[in-house]
């Protein structure tokens, strides 16, 4: 099995309409800086996430262009205001080798 790149998205705070909650995205991408060498002295090729896009109900609310300063596992926390009807938050990423991934999480409002 090839190394799967897994993401997780979770919310911290009360999921009620109008409240601000913190969304946390974590991804086990290798985030190899390209500055390191392996045991035999060969340079390890750069392999990092170059774009992260966060969408709330399809609308882009955050776009980030990570550099080599992000360590592995990649972690991003951002706050958002919970819409009236709840909805879905999606975080998608793209790395410099063309791989991409996406994770979605529904905002289930508290009764």
């Amino acid at each position: 099995m090839a190394t799967p790149v897994l993401s997780r998205l979770s919310f911290s705070g009360e999921l009620r309409a109008g409240r601000t909650v913190e969304a946390r995205w974590i991804c086990n991408h290798p985030m190899e800086t390209g500055f390191r060498v392996d045991d035999s002295g060969q340079r390890i090729a750069r392999h990092i996430i170059t774009q992260v896009q966060c969408r709330l109900n399809g609308q882009v609310i955050l776009q980030a262009t990570p550099g080599t300063g992000w360590s592995s596992p990649a972690y991003l926390a951002f706050s958002l205001v919970v819409p009236e009807q709840g909805g879905t938050v999606a975080v998608s990423w793209l790395d410099d080798q063309g791989a991409q991934g996406q994770v979605e999480q529904r905002l289930v409002l508290l009764p």
Partner: protein, 273 residues
């Protein structure tokens, strides 16, 4: 000297006398880390890391747990774990009994060895070099998570006297290693983990060294590591020659440490500094 210069000097000399007498507070003792011998490493974490440890949302270990769950039912090359063992929970009780004596009673197997043996038997890739296999670690993390809260219960095999003696020999070897001074620092395990619990060692606090929270995510590794990796790092820390991965010495030491932690609850995969 100018005439006013004398008065300036005199005033400067008299200043300490003019200041009100203040009592210097006695030195506060250092951060109150516990010094009890039967505490898990979690008790020695700073509050921030403790919070990270308890929050599955931002805890990086959850990624390994997810991966372990995928690997458990991965049947791409040979039978999956699930096809023999069924649910992960069925192995709950077994986790706390490792390391165990191998069938040929010549060596000890820890849980990672057992996972590796299973994987080799079912045609999956073996570990190469000193880097730990991420999939084996993920499965180990998943199993340890499942057994969270169970009491460590590593015991001698009772079926045959020869097995029991072999096991006891490994345990004695581990115990003598624990007390043996090694390396350029000339320190034994017990110099720190028995005699200096709760004291600061550079930026870290010395814990009693119970292996109850493995595999651990160490901040300085930026990744997950097994007991074996931690023990090898200890050898490096006291500037002794590091045993190769899989060295029987490491298994003996692990056996002794887990017998030493008998009855303590398994913490599940944890965060460390």
């Amino acid at each position: 000297m100018k005439p006013w210069g004398f008065w300036v000097v005199l005033f400067a000399l008299a200043l300490p006398l003019l200041a009100p007498a203040q009592e210097i507070p006695p030195a506060q003792p250092p951060a109150p880390w516990p010094t009890t011998a039967n505490l898990s490493g979690l008790a020695f974490l700073p509050p921030g890391l403790k919070a990270l440890n308890n929050d599955p949302g931002s805890n990086p270990i959850s990624l390994w747990l997810d991966r372990g769950a995928l690997a458990w039912s991965d049947a791409a090359s040979g039978p999956s774990c699930a096809s023999c063992h069924g649910q992960v929970e069925t192995l709950r009780q077994a986790v706390v009994t490792y390391p165990r004596l191998a069938a040929d009673s010549k060596r000890l197997l820890n849980l990672e060895d057992q996972i590796q043996a299973c994987r080799t038997r079912s045609g999956k890739a073996a570990q190469t070099g000193s880097v730990e296999n991420e999939e084996v670690l993920s499965l180990s993390a998943l199993l340890h998570q499942t057994a969270k809260g169970l009491a460590w219960n590593v015991k001698a095999p009772t079926a045959k006297a020869t097995e029991k003696n072999a096991w006891q020999a490994h345990l004695n070897q581990g115990a003598s290693l624990f007390a043996q001074r090694v390396g350029r620092m000339n320190l034994s395990c017990q110099n720190c983990h028995d005699q200096n619990i709760g004291r600061q060692l550079r930026a870290d606090v010395i814990s009693p060294g119970h292996p109850t929270g493995f595999p651990v995510y160490r901040m300085s590794w930026q990744g997950l590591g097994s007991v074996e990796r931690r023990l090898r790092a200890c050898f490096s820390g006291v500037q002794a020659q590091m045993p190769a991965p899989g060295d029987p010495v490491l298994r003996d030491l692990e056996l002794y440490l887990k017998v030493r932690a008998s009855g303590m609850p398994l913490d599940g995969p944890s965060i460390r500094r």
